[in-house]
Symmetry: C2
Subunit: 421 residues, 2 copies
Amino acid sequence: MSDSSAPADQVFLRRHNLAMVLRDLRDAGPRSRARIAADTGLNKATVSSLIAELAELGLVRDGVVERGGGVGRPGQTVEIDGRICGLGAEVNVDYVAVLVLDLRGEEVSYVRTPLDVPRLGVDSTLDELAAVIAAAVDDAAARGHDVAGITVGIPGMVETAPGVLRHAPNVGWREVRIADELAARLAGPAAIIRVDNDANLSALAEYTMGTSAGTLDLVYVTGETGVGGGVISDGVLLRGTEGYGGEIGHMPIGDPAHRCGCGKLGCWETSVGLAALLREVADPDDPVTDPSVDLEVRLAEIRRRAALGDGRTLRGIEAVGTGLGLGAAILVNLFNPRVIVLGGYFAELGEFFLPVMETELDKRVVAPARGGCRIELSSLGFTAACRGGAHVALDAVFTDPAAVGTAAADPVPTPIPGGMA
Amino acid sequence: MSDSSAPADQVFLRRHNLAMVLRDLRDAGPRSRARIAADTGLNKATVSSLIAELAELGLVRDGVVERGGGVGRPGQTVEIDGRICGLGAEVNVDYVAVLVLDLRGEEVSYVRTPLDVPRLGVDSTLDELAAVIAAAVDDAAARGHDVAGITVGIPGMVETAPGVLRHAPNVGWREVRIADELAARLAGPAAIIRVDNDANLSALAEYTMGTSAGTLDLVYVTGETGVGGGVISDGVLLRGTEGYGGEIGHMPIGDPAHRCGCGKLGCWETSVGLAALLREVADPDDPVTDPSVDLEVRLAEIRRRAALGDGRTLRGIEAVGTGLGLGAAILVNLFNPRVIVLGGYFAELGEFFLPVMETELDKRVVAPARGGCRIELSSLGFTAACRGGAHVALDAVFTDPAAVGTAAADPVPTPIPGGMA
């Protein structure tokens, strides 16, 4: 009954229907045009025409021929083509990482490069990141993939619209135009570059492909040098008015004697971040505190000591776990999530943190039975932010498949050698 | 193109269009059928038929005749009829209150009855509340109004679907089937009864009719005996997985020496709730601590002393304001709201709290310029929860106008004398 006969509406409707068909294939799996018509309520001629357009865009392809249970003639199925990819990148305190996912959700590549980011500074780090991204794009291209979009996660406060990092306390960056800086280092009609807070991207990854995928109220809490948070509330990422929501690491509930990377005293992350754990469990000359040793190796050593019952290690973990529980109780009181997913080093030592945290939650949460909240360890490990970034890039394709046409024509951002200097 | 020709879809479409027309009149004001057609994209014959149905339901009526700027013939305008009303009720520690708003958003009546709720207990309080509601409904009926829905706000954790209060620490209630209990006390085919957390309803009231109405990211913080919170995130009330979101009063950031109404030690409300203020500013025999004196009178006296520069009063307000700022900083770090609206007694003494809170926020918030957050004093005063409740009842009418037909046939819940005993 609404006046949708104007040409502009027809274009809108066509794009909407393209997206609907593509998402049906993602969510329901390979199927015949007849079943897509049944799923979506579109008529079969329209579905055929939409499939043809999606195939031309390189987003779907013919699948197996279905020979059903005797009813009707065998049907040619359609499936999502994995050619188009999304790339997620992450800059953290001591590494940069890049992960490529194809449109089917399958991992194409993952590279993590140790890097002393605070020491290297903005320009050299972005040079290095551009080189890693370009290598991943080239590698994907060599295997027949096109990267349609790039999302960079940063442990700091990001204004997503222009892709500007306002402040990343623990890497010491302020006011960096990440998207522009990176675009300048990647030549050609590059893929769209988005920038976001790393914990927000990790929360999206947990919500779309983690163990608790689909849980509408989910809080992600990651421990590295800093402590980051991402909040999914009723299925939507909570961003806040300027995109700075979820800054859980700076809740003023830590020991006021410790100064945080942000310059303030007593932030939560000074009590439960990686530095706090290392301070508790080891002397300064203990190899587990040596930043030149890979973090996962050091965490494995701490886990080994805890499993052996080492007193100092267990006391340290208990102290950090109590602090974790205190902050988690605030998160439960405020967000009433179904699940808190622990990421970063919290997940690596999670089996030891869990009982202490749960005791603390029982003491501190006001809702009956912790408001139905469980604590879970992330299965995505240190790849969560990259995965979330790749997901965001792919999500743009599922939202407007026709837009991929432009990028797909020449989607490969090739590096400018000069830009790497 | 979608298959919307099935009978079920026609019914759905009709209801959807009825709602669209009614909301157009609410948001854009009285107007001709032709302008409604232009606003909504519906054709004029459809609009006329929808208007006829809305008029029959008692939701719209003829307004003035427009004699426009020379173009076209003069048009009969349509406007919202104020006959249908929503009723918001509130149970708090020391009062029950009822407020009736008509469909045009105008206040029909407001009654606040002092009551020692923790002492009276569940049954007597609900008897009293039912009597106040019935009186308000009768009063509205005498003036030609029909109450289509009732929403009860309670300072506690509410499961909204069946309308059950799980726990209200400061009134001492647990597991009360408020909706059923109230329905049993109100005879006849009563209006729909909903139950919700009082601060959630207040947040909705601020979002829809407060000074910062329409601000998409808004946190409401109210101080009474308890401290309650309601969070609007990107225009949606944050409820959490079981409806217990926004329990800000029980953040463990208070003095661990004080036991909270919830039984735990060191909850935020033990540092900034009304009891904390009174403890700081007055001796136990000071009349401002006397619960039998109206709260607004006592707050006026405290305000007077502060304005006169009384040392103990100012120090007390500063101590509470610092605690308020500490908790507010957590809310800003987590939700990144555009505005924090202070309600309850916080608003009454707000002019004295603001500078201390702002200093604290500047010290504690990690986002630049407090993430763009301002603090505002509620202009709705102690009526906020009732207003929010009435809004929720009316919102149901704007969402599905046709459903009012049933209630409008006999919407008046008349009291059963026996139920009042």
